[in-house]
Symmetry: C2
Subunit: 230 residues, 2 copies
Amino acid sequence: ELAQLTAAQFDTGLLSGKTVFITAGPTREALDPVRYISNHSSGKMGYALAQAAVDAGARVKLISGPVNLPAPPRMERVQVQSAQDMLAAAMDGIDSCDIFIAAAAVADYRPTAVSEHKLKKGAEEIMELRLVKNPDIVASVAALPRKPFTVGFAAETRDLLSYARSKLERKNLDLIVANDVSQPGIGFNSDENAVTLVSRDAALVLPQTSKRQLASQLIRQIAELYNRAP
Amino acid sequence: ELAQLTAAQFDTGLLSGKTVFITAGPTREALDPVRYISNHSSGKMGYALAQAAVDAGARVKLISGPVNLPAPPRMERVQVQSAQDMLAAAMDGIDSCDIFIAAAAVADYRPTAVSEHKLKKGAEEIMELRLVKNPDIVASVAALPRKPFTVGFAAETRDLLSYARSKLERKNLDLIVANDVSQPGIGFNSDENAVTLVSRDAALVLPQTSKRQLASQLIRQIAELYNRAP
């Protein structure tokens, strides 16, 4: 029994018995039946994290926006479109969630009203689009009375570290995975990434490597911090 | 020699010696380095038309927005993002173009200014987005002094025929391929489609079938009208 316990603390068993929710990909916010606002997230990082969490023994629910990736094996995938859908899927069963990893690139704003019919191109040269702020999914999870260990992402084009730490504190997160999307060859739509892990009292740089490799390193770091948490 | 000439007028040779430009897919209009406005066009119809035109003996330039489709064989593919890029690619070599088929779902509007850095989510609950009308690619082509035979598409959710005919006349097109995107199972992102061909003096319904089948029928109709045109 002691041997089993010890084994479980190594590598593949790092998250055994734990439930991990991971959001991935972009969201799409409908303007009308054909048009939407979205972003360049490919979902690759979130999917790689989900795979690494399963490999570490966790039960995983992958909450995915529209991406062109197959459903990974040995996990539950819930497919959503909008930020509101993603929030509902995240809150569904959240009581059982030990670690919440918000890797999705959620649209900050959505159109105030969705037109039922396709908007006709008018004579107007200029159009004003009225947008309303979307719910903040990771902050909503971190605000729960019995919050899971909550990991956010910060995709920035400048002042990465200071934005990341202020986001961590403002949203009551346990960890931020910050990446500089202005660097070519990493991040959005790329197969590689390099990130800085930012907690309340430390920062750790994980240098550029494949998203798959990076996902394993991230899951190991997250598991260690989770197991150390009070 | 006579036998060759006659053979060329049948099926596979319907467009031999002709140059066809086809636009396909959506366009993406950047809001900032990560966000964009787009639409649900899969590009399948445009790609199927390009294939059918090649099969009919044409030289084809396929001008494609961002889609998840491989480059079809035996044609030139030019990949673009925005409507402005697509217009430039369409006008490049337009003098040699005999038939222009505008199957792309071009964004009607784009943000007035693209932010160089990712827009930070502010405290504001409401955001106003200022959009400016994009160039009308098919109308720009049809307005050329030596215009090619110009085919437009109309994706509508209501009043299909009346919108299509008014578009035909307003934009100086030779033919409109109109489809009702409010019908489930056809059109955007689907593998099947059903369309109504609308010319100045006639309308022809092509019933629901695979986009590949429909593309062959469309290319045959377009070739016949083109060859009959003064």
